[in-house]
């Protein structure tokens, strides 16, 4: 349990990387034939959202982060909620089990549960790692939001 403290490294790549990935994914999406039909807007929304998350995961460092891996895996399987729960059942590491055994009553663990539901791949992480991943996830999310906002502003009709 006792391990040396490494400084928390949350350097997120610049906006450009995110923008590049997102635009690539968007252009890939547009090449699909069924994409531009005006009827199925909901499908399009979902696809764009998925593309946004996947491109964000790729831009943020591919598989070097737990949550990005979880996102990519989720996108590959094309299911939304089932994946997370099954992963939690399968992959509870011994660290996670020990912390569960000790602090199920604490306030902090309840909050951590909510956080785990939000951050992708949170079910397999211990609380300290979860917090680190959350920080990185927040940075990447805000980056992605900025990129998308730029796009929308640029493309919106005057």
């Amino acid at each position: 349990m006792a391990s040396a403290d490494k400084p928390i490294n949350t350097d997120v790549p610049e906006k450009d990387v995110f923008a590049l990935h997102f635009l690539q994914s968007l252009s890939n999406l547009r090449r699909q034939n069924t994409f531009n039909s005006p009827e199925k807007t909901n499908d399009r929304v979902k696809k764009i959202k998925k593309a946004a998350y996947v491109s964000m995961a790729r831009a943020a460092g591919g598989t070097s982060r737990l949550w990005s891996r979880a996102l990519l895996r989720r996108a590959a399987k094309e299911t939304n909620k089932v994946v997370r729960f099954s992963r939690r059942k399968k992959r509870v590491t011994w660290l996670r089990r020990r912390s569960n055994r000790r602090d199920p009553v604490e306030e902090e663990e309840k909050e951590a549960e909510r956080l785990r539901n939000l951050v992708p791949g949170g079910g397999a992480m211990e609380t300290s790692k979860l917090i680190e991943e959350t920080a990185y996830y927040i940075k990447c999310l805000s980056m992605q939001v900025k990129v998308m906002q730029c796009l929308v502003d640029g493309l919106s009709p005057k």
């Binding site: 403290d5 949350t10 906006k15 902090e108 680190e132 900025k146 502003d153 493309l155 919106s156």
Partner: protein, 332 residues
């Protein structure tokens, strides 16, 4: 800093209780030597000190100090963590011991017992049991002040033992880095609570980092409130992504999109030529992500209509204007 602390203690000490604080002073000086020459062997200095003060209880002093000397050389590796902690405690215990009388033979006996225990444990080469004995000695309250000083010394011993192990095993095993958590007074000192305390401290440190990251978390105190804020923030960010993707989905089919490979590559080429520009004007770390509307996007409305505009208007908006102009040109 250490020298300034040592000198007043020297003045206030009486000669009757010179045994234990004197030992602590030697420890401090020993630590100073460690600081100055991080991994060198300080045996000649220690032997000089031993010879100089070999007046009473020679063997006991020498035995304990030879033990220190054995492990002291390995102290350098865990310099950062262990030194800081034991340094603080050393000040505290010196200030406590200087004011009271201690019977020399009792201290010697107890010290010898503790050092022998620690030596035996270090021979066993187990880090967990060291932690345990450290705490066991901590909870012994025969002589109150002595317990503190001894535990502090045995803490140093234990920490230097572990550090010696790490320095020895550093070549073989790479992951043996220990956090030296000091058991404070009045707290439970068994192994589990100690590990849990270390874990909680790690978590609180990371939460502080998160608190700096999320805007508006400074006012709320307590872990629960901060976590609530963070959860709300993450949820709002995710909702923003969803909303923006909806907007994009609505907007995109209205603009005739016929993107081929060539245009994407053109976009990439043009994009990468602009890299030095973008890097020069990179925006700072996003501490504040305001909700709609974003302030930086104020001057973007001219980009779509002027696809040829590649000049840099302002450093913070250059990226957006260029990307928008390029993207628009790609679309056309």
């Amino acid at each position: 800093m250490l020298e300034g602390l040592v000198s007043p203690e020297n003045l206030s000490l009486s000669y009757a209780d010179m045994s234990v604080p004197e030992r602590l002073k030697w420890l401090q000086q020993h630590q100073q030597q460690e600081v100055l020459s991080l991994s060198s062997n300080d045996s000649p200095d220690l032997l000089q000190i031993l010879q100089f003060h070999g007046s009473n209880n020679d063997e006991l002093l020498q035995s304990t100090f030879s033990h220190f000397q054995m492990v002291g050389s390995g102290f350098g590796t865990n310099y950062n963590m262990g030194f800081g902690h034991s340094h603080e405690a050393m000040d505290g215990c010196i200030s406590r011991t200087s004011s009271c009388q201690i019977h020399p033979p009792d201290t010697m006996g107890v010290m010898l017992k503790n050092s022998e225990e620690n030596r035996a444990i270090s021979l066993k080469n187990k880090r967990k049991s060291e932690v345990k004995t450290r705490e066991e000695e901590k909870t012994e309250k025969k002589i109150k002040v002595e317990a503190e000083t001894e535990s502090n010394i045995s803490n140093k011993e234990a920490s230097s033992d572990t550090s010696k192990e790490t320095s020895k095993g550093a070549s073989q095993i790479q992951k043996l880095d220990y956090i030296h958590v000091r058991a404070r007074r009045g707290e439970a000192t068994d192994r589990h609570s100690l590990a849990e305390r270390a874990r909680r401290e790690k978590i609180s440190k990371k939460m502080k980092y998160l608190q700096d990251l999320v805007p508006g978390c400074n006012t709320v105190t307590g872990k629960a409130g901060v976590l609530d804020e963070i959860i709300n923030y993450v949820q709002s960010l995710q909702r923003q992504v969803e909303f923006l993707s909806m907007k994009l989905a609505v907007i995109n089919p209205e603009l005739e999109l016929g993107v081929e490979d060539l245009s994407v590559k053109q976009f990439q080429a043009a994009y990468f030529t602009n890299f030095p520009v973008v890097i020069a004007s990179k925006p700072s770390v996003m501490v504040d992500v305001p909700l709609f509307p974003l302030d930086q996007q104020g001057s973007l409305n001219l980009s779509v209509s002027n696809p040829n505009q590649t000049s840099i208007d302002a450093p913070s908006e250059s990226w957006e204007t260029q990307s928008q102009s390029l993207f628009a040109s790609v679309l056309r």
